[in-house]
């Protein structure tokens, strides 16, 4: 039986989020450490924390008994509307926990920071932004749209939502290249702002003076369906975007064009 002194537990407030407790474990979590684990959570609950991140980066062993105790601690937090998540698991420990189906009970995070960010995302509707600028060339569009799709999936959006987001980004960026000034010195700016309820996509480019009128006509036709012209046929991409999005706005000027799309999360 391992000496109880082998396990060290420290509970403190998160540096970036005061209502989150970070419980750092060090050593072997085995049957001999159950009492100490339970006591640390008693203290934490007395301090009115309901969300806890278990920092497992320095854990060398997790027995099934200790895992059961952690599950019990989690249940206590769930009853209060909170949660207990695990962070910083080594590859070996993660594999063992997965073999014990612990991944079906606990959320795993790469580190404490990711776990706290996830808490803010879920409980405080925190939004996160990604800025991208790339040359105004069609070859760059496929990697850009796949990036948008991967980000959406990473943040928990379903496959269907992620694919629609990819389609929206693809169409808008293609239009930005085709209707903007092409060339190595011209860039397209993409801003993605995502939270757990929606994603906002903003694409900005430099207008091509020779194409700006065509773009204005296309964008007008999107909001007045009975206007028909040859240019409208080329505007089917933006019409598709308008169908897939919940909100859609184009601002055209002689300087640049900005397309702003909002898509609500459906899955």
């Amino acid at each position: 039986m391992a000496d109880i002194r082998d396990i060290r537990i420290e509970c403190k407030q998160s540096d970036v989020c005061p209502e989150v407790a970070v419980v750092t474990f060090e050593g072997a979590l085995d049957s001999g450490s159950i009492q100490k684990i339970g006591h640390s959570f008693d203290v934490m609950l007395e301090d009115n924390y309901i969300y806890a991140v278990a920092d497992m980066a320095r854990v060398t062993l997790v027995s099934s008994a200790a895992l059961g105790e952690l599950m019990g601690c989690r249940t206590r937090l769930l009853e209060r509307g909170g949660d207990l998540v695990l962070a910083g698991l080594s590859i070996g420990i993660r594999e063992k926990l997965t073999a014990m189906d612990a991944n079906k009970v606990f959320k795993f995070f790469n580190d404490v920071r990711s776990a706290v960010n996830a808490y803010n995302w879920e409980y405080h509707d925190r939004s996160e932004s990604l800025n991208l600028s790339f040359p105004s060339k069609l070859t760059f569009v496929p990697p850009v749209r796949q990036l948008a799709s991967r980000i959406a999936k990473q943040k928990g959006y379903g496959n269907r939502d992620s694919f629609r987001i990819e389609t929206i980004v693809d169409e808008i960026c293609n239009n930005a290249v085709e209707h903007g000034v092409e060339g190595d010195e011209n860039t397209i700016e993409l801003l993605l702002t995502i939270d757990r309820k929606k994603i906002e996509i903003k694409v900005m480019n430099t207008s091509d003076p020779g194409k700006i009128n065509a773009l204005k006509e296309i964008s007008k036709s999107l909001f007045v369906p009975h206007i028909l012209s040859d240019e409208v046929k080329r505007g089917r991409g933006l019409a598709l975007v308008k169908m897939l999005a919940n909100d859609f706005n184009i601002e055209c000027s002689d300087v640049g064009t900005c397309v702003h799309v909002t898509k609500l999360r459906e899955e």
Partner: protein, 170 residues
């Protein structure tokens, strides 16, 4: 000319520059490194070069997030400049603690001098990650300005300059 004593092919076509800024969270790194790899592939770099560049980006961005992002809204910036004969990466973060900055500088200096970085009994991510980056690239430079803004610049030569994609058997 970048680098000490290194010569690179003067390119007639302009370099392609892509910049991405993302939240300082490890969860974003897989998508960002895959994005960089795909950028290289569509710009006619080989899949081998793209994969090794993905490893470089993964290592440096991991360090940037773990050691260089200390506030909730910290971000990491990655700039990729694709030349005809090489690719240049620059990764910037807000800067870590004095201890971590010193470890980073020591790790880079140790690599340059061929001396193994001293590990303090646990894995030094800055040390081991930069070993991998240096193995896969021609140059690694670290700059820290007065505001602790940390920038790591990596140059990787294009292995198959003049060819497109995988070599085919004749």
């Amino acid at each position: 000319m970048p680098g000490k004593g290194r010569r690179y092919l003067m390119s007639e076509s302009k370099p392609q520059k892509v910049k991405i800024r993302f939240p300082g969270d490890l969860e974003y790194i897989p998508a960002v490194r895959k994005f960089v790899a795909e950028l290289l592939l569509v710009n006619q770099f080989s899949s081998k070069c793209a994969y090794r560049s993905e490893i470089i980006i993964d290592e440096i961005c991991n360090n940037a997030v773990v050691y260089g992002c200390r506030t909730a809204d910290s971000q990491v910036e990655v700039v990729c400049v694709m030349h005809e004969d090489r690719i240049e990466f620059q990764v910037k973060d807000a800067g870590g603690s004095e201890t971590d900055l010193k470890r980073l500088r020591d790790a880079v200096a140790a690599e340059e001098s061929g001396v193994k970085p001293i590990l303090d009994g646990r894995k030094s991510a800055a040390g081991l990650g930069l070993e991998i980056v240096r193995l896969l690239s021609e140059e690694v430079n670290v700059e820290v300005d007065d505001n602790n803004l940390t920038s790591i610049r990596v140059i990787r030569r294009r292995e198959d300059a003049g060819t497109c994609g995988e070599k085919k058997a004749v």
